[in-house]
């Protein structure tokens, strides 16, 4: 990692700043606003995701035609599509329960901390514990899955 471009980290930071400022500006960093959206009291929040998806979608479509690779990493501009399996449905449903209960998702939780919402540390603690539990469970399962196939 010593060969990373000196501007790599500053650029990531600037991207994060814009991202967090946008979440503050849209008020998606407020769980109440997300809950009002999910309860159909103000569905304007849809435009946060669509607005962001359209802007990033333009870059995803245009950049591969302008250049072969990114200037700071040399990585190719390509679509990194995630394979579909039932985990997308199972995980999505579990995430939906959590989002609907708390009104907060990971990116908005980080921004929420920035706007002064100290209580969001409860949600962040929950997210880390949840990520840890599924990680331990899936790491263990992956290890035990290998044993029988080795025996074959």
């Amino acid at each position: 990692m010593a060969d990373r471009h000196p501007l790599f980290m500053p650029l990531i930071l600037v991207g994060g700043l814009l991202f967090g400022f946008g979440l503050g500006f849209s008020q998606m960093a407020r769980p109440e606003v997300v809950l009002q959206f999910l309860q159909f009291e103000d569905i304007g929040l849809l435009f946060v995701m669509f607005g962001a998806a359209i802007v990033s979608g333009i870059a995803f479509a245009v950049m591969p035609r302008l250049r072969d690779s990114a200037p700071l990493t040399g990585d190719r501009y390509e679509r990194r599509l995630k394979p579909f399996d039932r985990n997308v449905l199972i995980g999505g449903a579990i995430f939906g329960i959590g989002w609907g209960l708390s009104g907060i998702c990971p990116g908005a939780a980080y921004a929420s901390l920035g706007v002064g919402n100290v209580s969001i540390l409860w949600a962040l603690a929950g997210m880390f514990v949840g990520a840890y539990l599924q990680g331990v469970w899936r790491s263990t399962r992956a290890t035990t899955d290998i044993v029988p196939s080795d025996a074959d």
């Binding site: 790599f8 980290m9 503050g24 407020r30 990493t73 997308v88 990971p106």
Partner: protein
Amino acid sequence: MVADPVPLQLTAELFPNGISRYAVGGMLVGLGTVVIYVGTGIPAGASTFLESTLSYVSGQSRFQRYVASRDWRVVFTLGIILGGLAFAATVQSGVITTSLYEAGTTGERYEVGGVTLWATDVQAWRLLVGGLFVGIGTRIGKGCTSGHGVCGVGSASKTSIVGVMTFLTVAIATAQIVAALGVSP
């Protein structure tokens, strides 16, 4: 976006705060994603940070696979936090005034060193238990609102579109049931 002859009254009910602040905020979120993608080729999502950061303290294989990206993901998250703070110090504090910002009636506003901060009224148990489900679900489901919702939908990934439909539908049902049970805020 065909202009449907939707009765104005219904529009006002569904969009009591208009759409501009949401759309402008969303475009800034998208711009943050674009800056990182153009410079590095990385479509950045927010929830991988949870697992990549756990790799600093846990040797589990599930977390160790993110070792290569864990340092920049910390910086990305730090940027998001500071971006929220920058919003608080400017728009939320009234240093920059825009018709798109309204203080709103939710949560508590308080001041620290001349900066207007905001804190939620949503109960701690909802945040903690909800966060737990978010932590499990986003990682099993391969992404969250930014990874699937912004990057995935932006690149027209069918997996991400299905993922978004799934978590959006379940979140709507959950929030409606919780509200119907009288839990507020």
